[in-house]
C-alpha cells in the first residue's frame, strides 16, 4: 500500500504537464478557465495538437499508433489536461468508436478510419439514442435494409452531442425486426455528408446548441461500412459502453472546478461565511473520496490482482458532484447570476462593460454560472441514467 506515484509515473506527469503548458493555446485555456463557450475550431485546434503529438488517442495501444499508456498514465494525462484548463477531448472518435473499430473492424477499416481519428481531422458523432429509446437502448428503430452492396437507412437518432460538426456518425441500426430486440442490431459507420442525412439542433434549457437530432431519409451506406457481422451490433455497442466508462467520474475536472468555486466564493466575499463554506468543505470531502475511489480502480488495473467493479458508483458519484459544484458556484455567485446574457458565454465578452457598463453580473466569472448549473442537469441522465446505474450496482450485490 502506497499513496505515492512511482518516480517513473511522476516523471511522466511532469512530461505531460510541460507539454500541455507549452502547447495549449492561451485563448482556449482562457475560455475553459472562464467556463465560456467553445466552438468547433477550439475543439479541433486542441485535438489536432494532441493528434500531432500522438496523444489524441491516448488510450490506444501501440499496435494502432497509440502511446500504449498504463491506466495510471492515462489518468495522469487526463488530470494534467484538466488542471491546465484544456478542453475535454471530444470522445466520440478517439474514445468511443476507435476501440470498436480496432476490436471488430477489418484491417481495411483500420486503415481507412483510424488515422483521421488519431489526427483529429475527422469529427465523429454518436448515433445511439432514439426518441423512443432512452435508458432502453436496445429498442433501436432506425432501419437499415440491405439492398445490393449498400444499406438503405431510414430513421432518427437524437441527443447527438456536437453532431452539428460531425463528419461521420456511428450508428446502431436495426437490420432484423423478426427477433429479440438485441439480436437484430448492427453497427454502421455513416458519412454525414451522404444525401438524406439531416441534422437539426435541439436547444437545451440553458439555451445552448449542444445536441441534435439526426434524420436518415433513404441514406445509402456502402456495406463495407458495417462493423463486424450483421446483427451482432449489440455486442459491439456494449463493448463501446464499457470503454466509455474510462474517466467516467471526471474527478480531475471536479478538482479543478472546486478550485474555481473557491475563487468565486472569495471574489464574492462569501468564502468566510461559515454556512456556504461548510458546503464547500463537504464537497471537498466528496471529491477526495471520489478521487481515492478512482485511484483504487487504477491500482487494481495496474496490479491485476483484484478486480474492482465500481463503474456504476463512479458514474453516479461523479455526476452528482458535477451538479453539486455548479449549484454551489451559482449560490456563491449570488442573485446576480440570474441575469442572462447569451453573449456572456463568449470569449471576448467584456463582463462589466456590457450594457454600457450596467451588466449586473459584475465580475465575468458570474455570468455563466446559472447556465452551467442548468447544463449539467444532463449528467445524471446521460451515459446510462443514475437510476439505471443503481439497478446495475444492486444487481452485482443482490443478483
Amino acid at each position: 500500500m502506497d499513496l505515492n506515484f512511482t518516480p517513473e509515473e511522476l516523471a511522466f506527469r511532469a512530461e505531460v504537464r510541460d507539454w500541455v503548458a507549452t502547447h495549449l493555446p492561451a485563448d482556449i485555456r482562457q475560455k475553459v478557465r472562464q467556463a465560456q463557450r467553445l466552438h468547433k475550431d477550439d475543439h479541433q485546434r486542441w485535438a489536432r495538437l494532441l493528434g500531432a503529438k500522438g496523444w489524441l488517442g491516448y488510450a490506444w495501444p501501440r499496435a494502432f499508433g497509440g502511446p500504449g499508456w498504463s491506466a495510471v498514465q492515462k489518468h495522469l494525462f487526463e488530470e494534467e489536461c484538466a488542471l491546465a484548463d484544456a478542453p475535454r477531448i471530444v470522445p466520440f472518435g478517439p474514445v468511443m468508436v476507435a476501440p470498436v473499430i480496432m476490436a471488430f473492424g477489418t484491417p481495411e477499416q483500420h486503415r481507412r478510419f483510424l488515422p483521421g481519428i488519431a489526427s483529429g481531422d475527422v469529427w465523429w458523432s454518436q448515433g445511439y439514442s432514439e426518441p423512443g429509446s432512452g435508458s432502453d437502448l436496445a429498442s433501436v428503430k432506425t432501419r437499415a435494409e440491405r439492398v445490393g452492396d449498400h444499406y438503405v437507412v431510414n430513421g432518427q437518432k437524437t441527443w447527438t452531442t456536437l453532431g452539428q460538426y460531425g463528419d461521420w456518425i456511428f450508428c446502431l441500426v436495426r437490420t432484423d425486426t423478426q427477433c429479440k430486440p438485441q439480436a437484430g442490431i448492427s453497427f454502421l459507420l455513416i458519412d454525414m455528408k451522404s444525401p438524406g442525412v439531416t441534422v437539426r439542433p435541439i436547444l437545451l434549457l440553458d439555451g445552448e446548441h449542444e445536441v441534435n437530432e439526426v434524420f436518415f431519409d433513404n441514406v445509402r451506406v456502402p456495406a463495407e461500412n458495417l462493423i463486424g457481422e450483421e446483427n451482432k451490433g449489440w455486442t459491439y455497442a456494449k463493448y463501446l459502453l464499457a470503454h466509455e466508462r474510462t474517466n467516467i467520474a471526471d474527478v480531475n475536472r471536479a478538482k479543478r472546478e472546486l478550485e474555481r468555486l473557491k475563487r468565486i466564493a472569495q471574489a464574492e466575499g462569501v468564502y468566510d461565511d461559515v454556512r456556504l463554506r461548510d458546503q464547500i468543505a463537504l464537497l471537498e470531502v466528496d471529491i477526495v473520496a471520489l478521487e481515492m475511489m478512482v485511484l483504487r480502480v487504477l491500482s487494481a488495473e495496474k496490479s491485476g490482482k483484484q478486480s474492482l467493479d465500481v463503474a456504476g458508483l463512479l458514474k453516479i458519484r461523479g455526476s452528482e458532484i458535477q451538479q453539486r459544484y455548479t449549484e454551489l458556484m451559482m449560490l456563491a455567485g449570488g442573485p446576480c447570476t440570474q441575469a442572462f446574457l447569451f453573449e456572456a458565454m463568449e470569449a471576448g465578452w467584456q463582463g462589466d462593460q456590457a450594457l454600457g457598463g450596467l451588466f449586473p453580473g459584475g465580475a465575468e466569472h458570474c455570468a455563466p454560472l446559472t447556465s452551467h448549473y442548468f447544463n449539467v442537469r444532463k449528467t445524471t441522465i446521460y451515459g446510462g441514467s443514475n437510476e439505471v446505474q443503481r439497478n446495475i450496482v444492486a444487481q452485482t450485490l443482490l443478483g
Binding site: 442573485p335 441575469a339 442572462f340
Partner: protein, 378 residues
C-alpha cells in the same frame, strides 16, 4: 383556524386560471422569453382583469383586498408560468407606497391600480447580496430642498419597462445600519438615471439602475421596517408562486411517467420512480403548507413576522430545488430541452430560490431568531 378559500377567492382563482388558459399558452410565454422577457403587455392584461388593483386601497382606486387574495393570484400565475412584474409592481410597491405621504399615494396608486403606471422597487445592490440593510446608495438633500440619489441598483424587475422606481438610499449611518435608510420615488425619466435592461435566466427581464445625483421624491424617512415588510410581502408572493409552479411541474411529471415507455412498460411501473414522485409530493405539500403560513403571518409584528417568513422561505427554497431537480431527472432527456415546457418551470423554480435571499441566508435568519418554543402557535 380555517384554510378554506372563500367563494370570492375561488372565483378570483378561476378568473386567473381562465386567463392563463386562454391568453397565456406556452408558445406565447416561450416567445416572450426568447424576445428578452419584456412583460409590460402582460402586466396590462392583468390590469384589465383588475388584478393590479388587488391590494391597493379602495380610496385609491383599488380593490382593497388582502394577502390571501394575493396568494391565490400568485399561485395561479405560478401554475401558468406567467412572467409578469406582478410581485414587484402589484404587491410590493403598493405595500411600500402605503407609507408615503397621502399626496404621493394619490398621485401614483390609482394609476398603478389601473395599470397605466408600473412602479417597481429597486431593493437589490449587487454587493449586498441578500442583506436588505446593506445600502450604499446615498441620498442627499440639496440646498434647493430636493433629494438627490447616487448609487447603483441591480436586478430591478422589469426595470426598463417601469415608469418609476422605489429606491432605498442611505441618508445617515454606516453601510449596514438599519436606521438611516430612507425610501424614495424616482421616475424613469429622472435626470441622471441610466437604466440598462437585460433578460433573466427564468425568462423575465430586469434592469440595472445607475443613479448620479438623480432627483427623487421622499416616500418615507425611516424606511427600514417598511422595506422589511415589503420584502416579506415579496417572499409570501413567490412562495405562493412556487406552489403553483411545483403543482404544475409535478402534474407534468406524473403525466410523463404514465405515458413514457421504456423496456415495454411505462415509467410509472418502476418503484424507484414511484417513490421519487412521492418525495416530490411531500416537498410540494410542505411548501404549500408554508406558503399558507407565510401569507397568514404577514400581519404579525416585526420579529414574529420575520421569523415566520424566513421559515417559509427555507421550506420553499428546499422544496423548489428538490422538486425542480427531481422532476427534471424523472423526465430524462426531454425534460432538459428548451422546447419542453417543464424545463422553464425548473428555471423559474431555480430563480425563486435565489430571490429575496437563498435557503442558507434564511436559515441564518431563522437561526438568529430561534426561541425556546417553536411551532405555528409558539
Amino acid at each position: 383556524m380555517d384554510f378554506d378559500f372563500s367563494d370570492d377567492q375561488l372565483s378570483l382563482r378561476d378568473m386567473v386560471a381562465r386567463w392563463v388558459d386562454k391568453a397565456f399558452p406556452f408558445d406565447r410565454r416561450h416567445a416572450l422569453a426568447k424576445a428578452g422577457g419584456a412583460a409590460r403587455a402582460v402586466h396590462t392584461e392583468l390590469a384589465e382583469l383588475g388584478l393590479t388593483a388587488l391590494v391597493i386601497p379602495e380610496a385609491h382606486g383599488g380593490m382593497g383586498l388582502g394577502a390571501v387574495e394575493a396568494m391565490v393570484v400568485m399561485e395561479e400565475l405560478g401554475r401558468g408560468l406567467v412572467n409578469a412584474p406582478y410581485t414587484a409592481g402589484a404587491l410590493m410597491s403598493p405595500c411600500l407606497l402605503a407609507a408615503a405621504p397621502e399626496a404621493l399615494q394619490a398621485a401614483w396608486l390609482p394609476r398603478m391600480a389601473d395599470g397605466s403606471a408600473l412602479v417597481v422597487p429597486a431593493l437589490q445592490e449587487k454587493a449586498a447580496r441578500y442583506r436588505l440593510n446593506r445600502v450604499s446608495t446615498r441620498a442627499e438633500a440639496g440646498t434647493d430642498g430636493v433629494w438627490r440619489l447616487s448609487g447603483r441598483k441591480s436586478l430591478v424587475p422589469a426595470g426598463d419597462e417601469a415608469d418609476a422606481f422605489l429606491v432605498p438610499a442611505r441618508v445617515t449611518g454606516t453601510l449596514d445600519d438599519e436606521a438611516g435608510i430612507a425610501l424614495f420615488l424616482v421616475p424613469r425619466d429622472a435626470a441622471g438615471l441610466c437604466v440598462g435592461g437585460h433578460p433573466l435566466q427564468d425568462g423575465a427581464r430586469a434592469a440595472e439602475l445607475q443613479l448620479e445625483n438623480t432627483p427623487a421624491t421622499l416616500v418615507l424617512e425611516q424606511a427600514w421596517d417598511r422595506l422589511s415588510l415589503a420584502q416579506d410581502v415579496g417572499i409570501a408572493a413567490i412562495a405562493a408562486e412556487s406552489v403553483g409552479l411545483m403543482d404544475r411541474l409535478t402534474a407534468l411529471t406524473v403525466d410523463y411517467l404514465n405515458t413514457r415507455k421504456q423496456f415495454g412498460v411505462t415509467l410509472a411501473t418502476f418503484q424507484a420512480l414511484r417513490h421519487r414522485i412521492a418525495d416530490v409530493k411531500m416537498q410540494l405539500e410542505l411548501a404549500r403548507s408554508m406558503s399558507y403560513y407565510a401569507t397568514l403571518k404577514l400581519g404579525e409584528a416585526g420579529d414574529a413576522r420575520r421569523r415566520a417568513l424566513s421559515q417559509a422561505k427555507v421550506q420553499v427554497g428546499q422544496s423548489a430545488r428538490f422538486v425542480g431537480q427531481q422532476c427534471m431527472q424523472l423526465h430524462g432527456g426531454i425534460g432538459i430541452t428548451d422546447e419542453y415546457l417543464g424545463s422553464h418551470y425548473f428555471k423559474r423554480l431555480t430563480a425563486v430560490e435565489m430571490q429575496f435571499g437563498d435557503t442558507l441566508h434564511h436559515l441564518g435568519e431563522v437561526s438568529d431568531r430561534m426561541q425556546a418554543t417553536a411551532g405555528v402557535f409558539a
